[in-house]
Amino acid sequence: MGFLKNKSGRQQITDEHRPCQDSGRREFLKKAVKAAAIGGTAVVTGCQAPGLLGSKEEFALQFQEYFKAHYRLMTEKERDTTITRLERLAKLQKNVDVQISSKEAMPGVLFGYGFNVTRCEGYMECVSACVRENNLDRKSNMQYIRIFEMEPGQMTPDAGQGKFFNEVPVDGRFYMGAQCNHCDNAPCIKACPTKATYREPDGIVVVDYDWCIGCRYCMAACPYYGRRFNWNEPVVPVKEITKKQHYLGNRQRRRGQMEKCTFCVQRTREGRLPACAEACPTGARIFGNLLDPKSEIRFVLENKKVFRWKEELGTDPKFWYFID
């Protein structure tokens, strides 16, 4: 029955084999892609003008990028090729050396998140860390996380005040965060006409940015305001770019693409905590493996009184709120 449960329909790649194989092949591919790009340029331009080579190479790379397949349908080699292309493009366009990972989900892992309503004090460190980690657009001030200042007597973020900017915590108020809930039965996945957004085997809901056509149906379908759209070409100061990236995570997005919280896939697949959980100064954010009975998130679920937001919609979120 195992093969039926593997929704990605791709074979799991065992982690032991990857790194060593990877580096060699990557290096080779880097050269191959470069050669192909130059070759493509020769075809496109008819001759090679050395001064213009940079921009022509960029054009050729983007031309090849345009015809690539959906990430889930790519073979291992195709993935490596596109990653090499993307890394090269980042170098050409912004002169930064980024490392884009294509690390697969670990078997036996299902990510879940706990948010301690009692402990959150509204310092917004998580928001800031998330913006930095995920290379979010600074021009439109995009943020994945919103924190709400709550009056007592209510327990749902939409009743709170999201525009607060005052010394926190205010006496008699409490704070609640809202972000993508990584629903197990996600309405956005159902809505997407191109399958650009999908659920990875470790439970995170991701977007294949380059496959998205920007119709924004998922945005209308999301009951948690978990998705963000690039209305303009995103701007990230070169100095502030997080260089350790993941194809499905914090790599450079383009205008017209949908994006969202990925539980920091570039970090969590390595075993690290998401940036928000790491930055939280009060320990209000709990992250872990739901399939591991000894994980902290499981302790929270079993020992605390937890609730999920808008549970009545049947979206089955993997984001729990709890109270001490």
Partner: protein, 409 residues
């Protein structure tokens, strides 16, 4: 009939159609030029949007669908409404409708072209459009309602292009069209007309995240409002054709159209009342959108004047058409139809899309009004639609007229 002669006939058909659609009096030429000017304005605005991204619209992460999708929704209804002419004329063999049915079909084509263009300009990455094409892309069917909509709209466009094209081609050659060849497709297109509008309604109805849309009355109400607005538009068009061309429309046709409009408009108003009752008899959290629409929320009341205007002119138009004080006089019939059309356009366009998205799932309220880019593009698309209708209608009427004159049936 040999292969060669049929090819020659086809070429003759095409050249004649092109000639007829482009030639006309100075007024006609000026009208075409005006349309082209507006289309160029739309193209210019779209280039601005292309260059700077959708940021030039006034849409935001909260109001993520705006003027484009509002117009798309409304125009799908107009396209579906052609069935109100097709159904009586082909199935019940209604004589009064039979010779205006072609006009209904052409309006449907124009509306479809417009609605599909509206979706296209709404896309963030139109170049990646090939990702939805089945086989070379990934088509999330049957899960995504948007794929259903793409499917039904395209098939409806093909049906509405091919049936009239076949009939017109036969009439052009002075041959009676073979019902066995087109009747099955007429049946399909009738079901399809209901299908396109129901599925467009399901696009919204299927979103539990948006309580204002997640409402089982959405589908039926879409149909009712469409069957009022579409025939209203066709009535206006018929009056124009009646007054500017040799193609004369009998009074009976207007009267029957009026009945269709009145019945649909009344059903639409009953459903509207039912919705309003549900939202305001015992307001819940889910009624906030309706409150935002009808009374404004947290000082954001940009939609309030629009919706009350829409409802008022809706009711006035319906009453005028129902009691018909002018006995089908165009002086009264025409404004009543226009009022009804505009009323439904506001109510089912902006008045449906924006409140569905406000307040946001996080309870935030914002205002939305289209930017100059959105308005210019919309005008351009409107001009495109009118252009398509004109280009198709003019030769079609000439062919029909010739056919009738030579073979009175």
């Amino acid at each position: 009939m040999t292969q060669k002669s049929s090819v020659r006939q086809m070429i003759g058909f095409i050249t004649d159609v092109t000639r007829w659609s482009l030639s006309g009096g100075i007024g006609y030429q000026l009208f075409l030029c005006l349309l082209v000017v507006f289309m160029m304005l739309g193209v210019f605005a779209y280039l601005v949007q292309w260059k700077l991204g959708l940021a030039v619209t006034h849409m935001s992460d909260i109001v993520s669908w705006g003027f484009y999708i509002a117009n798309f929704t409304f125009l799908v209804g107009v396209a579906a409404a052609a069935v109100m002419l097709i159904l009586p004329s082909y199935i019940f063999k209604d004589k009064d409708f039979h010779h205006v049915v072609i006009i209904g079909e052409v309006v449907a084509i124009g509306a479809l072209v417009m609605s599909m263009t509206f979706v296209f300009v709404d896309l963030g990455r139109p170049l990646q459009g090939w990702h939805i094409i089945p086989i070379i892309g990934l088509f999330n069917w049957p899960s995504s309602l948007l794929t259903w909509d793409i499917l039904v709209l395209n098939v409806y466009l093909v049906l509405n292009l091919s049936i009239p094209a076949y009939i017109l081609y036969c009439h052009y050659n002075q041959v009676e069209p073979d019902p066995r060849k087109y009747r099955p497709f007429v049946f399909i297109s009738i079901f399809w007309a209901f299908g396109i509008h129901l599925i467009t309604a399901f696009l919204y109805e299927g979103l539990p995240a948006r309580p204002f849309w997640n409402n089982p009355l959405m589908g039926p109400r879409f149909l009712a409002s469409a069957f009022a607005a579409g025939p209203a538009l066709i009535t206006v068009l018929l009056v124009i054709i009646h007054n500017t061309t040799v193609f004369k429309i009998p009074k009976q046709t207007f009267n029957k159209l009026r009945l269709i409009i009145v019945i649909s408009a009344i059903i639409n108003l009953i459903m509207l009342f039912s919705e309003v009752f549900k939202e305001f008899y015992f307001p819940t959290h889910h009624s906030l959108s309706a409150e935002y629409l009808y009374f404004g929320l947290d000082g954001h009341n940009s939609l309030v004047p629009w919706i009350w205007t829409a409802i008022s002119i809706n009711i006035i138009g319906t009453l005028l058409l129902a009691f018909n004080p002018g006995k089908n006089k165009p002086m009264l019939l025409l404004p009543a139809c226009i009022l009804l059309f505009v009323g439904i356009w506001i109510e089912k366009g902006i008045g449906l899309i924006v409140p569905g998205l406000v307040p946001s799932p996080l309870g935030e309220v914002v205002s939305y009004a289209p930017s100059w880019v959105e308005i210019s593009i919309a005008l351009g698309i409107l001009a495109l639609g009118m252009f398509v209708v004109t280009m198709l209608l003019k030769p079609a009427l000439i062919i029909e007229h010739r056919f009738k004159a030579e073979k009175p049936s």
